[in-house]
């Protein structure tokens, strides 16, 4: 991760609306573990406001939270749709060969010869291992690659690139 990258904001949740009449809000958490949203310190909005967040309970599909400075239902309702962010540097460091999706998405993709193929558009996991979705002008359609050492030998976050070894897929019909 580049040094300046630590300040990059990552969206970890959004306010879905007010909850009750005491200024609590319903927060839709985008974290892998929904409750983790309260563990990254103050959350920042797109317009620069900062909120300390405390989880008070759960509602269907959301967490019930108290945000610092929000005391009334009207204040809470006014925040509906606000996205909550955290600086990338606040996320804990990961062991080798583990990466945040947020770090991988947007990386430039090169093949082993150095030619640029495109960028990482998304990281998916449907239960059979993570794989990268790569798009770019050099590709007629999105390239899906298993996120393994064999297919992705190099992940260079500092330089913002990954090196892939695209497989030879068999195109013949069954």
């Amino acid at each position: 991760m580049a040094v300046g990258d630590r300040d990059r904001l990552i969206c970890v949740g959004a306010i879905a609306g007010a909850f009750g009449v005491r200024g609590e809000v319903r927060v839709k958490s985008f974290c892998a573990e929904p409750e983790a949203i309260a563990g990254y310190g103050p959350l920042v909005t797109e317009d620069g406001r900062r909120f300390a967040i405390t989880i008070r309970g759960t509602a269907p599909g959301a967490l019930v939270c108290r945000l610092s400075g929000v005391e009334t239902r009207e204040q809470a309702q006014a925040l509906k749709g606000t996205r909550l962010h955290v600086a990338r540097g606040r996320l804990p460091d990961l062991p080798e060969d583990e990466f945040y999706h947020a770090d991988l998405i947007g990386l430039t993709v090169q093949d082993t010869g150095g030619a640029v193929l495109g960028q990482v558009r998304a990281v998916h996991d449907h239960g059979a291992g993570d794989f990268l979705e790569i798009t770019g002008p050099a590709l007629a359609r999105p390239l899906l690659l298993p996120f393994t050492r064999a297919f992705v030998p190099t992940v260079d976050l500092a330089r913002g690139r990954i090196v892939v070894d695209p497989p030879q897929g068999s195109d013949e019909a069954p």
Partner: protein
């Protein structure tokens, strides 16, 4: 009702052929298959299949825990792009 034991697991023959060919070649490749109905067999462990979902071939790296499941279970036909947030990916 479960499939009778004497019948054995169902696998399309062409999937078996492709898997055997890929294992012999020892190359780093994704075996494209359209057969979502085929059962994952022990001899598929360690191979990577591209399982068609009606739109594209989803990479499925077969592990021991997946034996007995169908390929289609790992290749959803509807894509959901969620938020990345703090989600992690592990390179194997």
């Amino acid at each position: 009702m479960a499939r009778s034991v004497w019948k054995g697991p169902f696998v399309d023959a062409h999937v078996l052929k492709k898997a055997a060919k890929a294992r012999e070649s020892g190359r780093n490749e994704v075996i494209k298959i359209w057969s979502r109905r085929s059962t994952i067999l022990p001899q598929f462990v360690g191979l990577t299949f591209g399982v068609y979902n009606g739109h594209k071939h989803i990479p499925v790296s077969v592990t021991e825990e997946m034996i007995g499941q169908k390929f289609g279970e790992y290749s959803p036909t509807r894509t959901f792009y969620g938020h990345a947030a703090d989600k992690k990916a592990k390179r194997r």
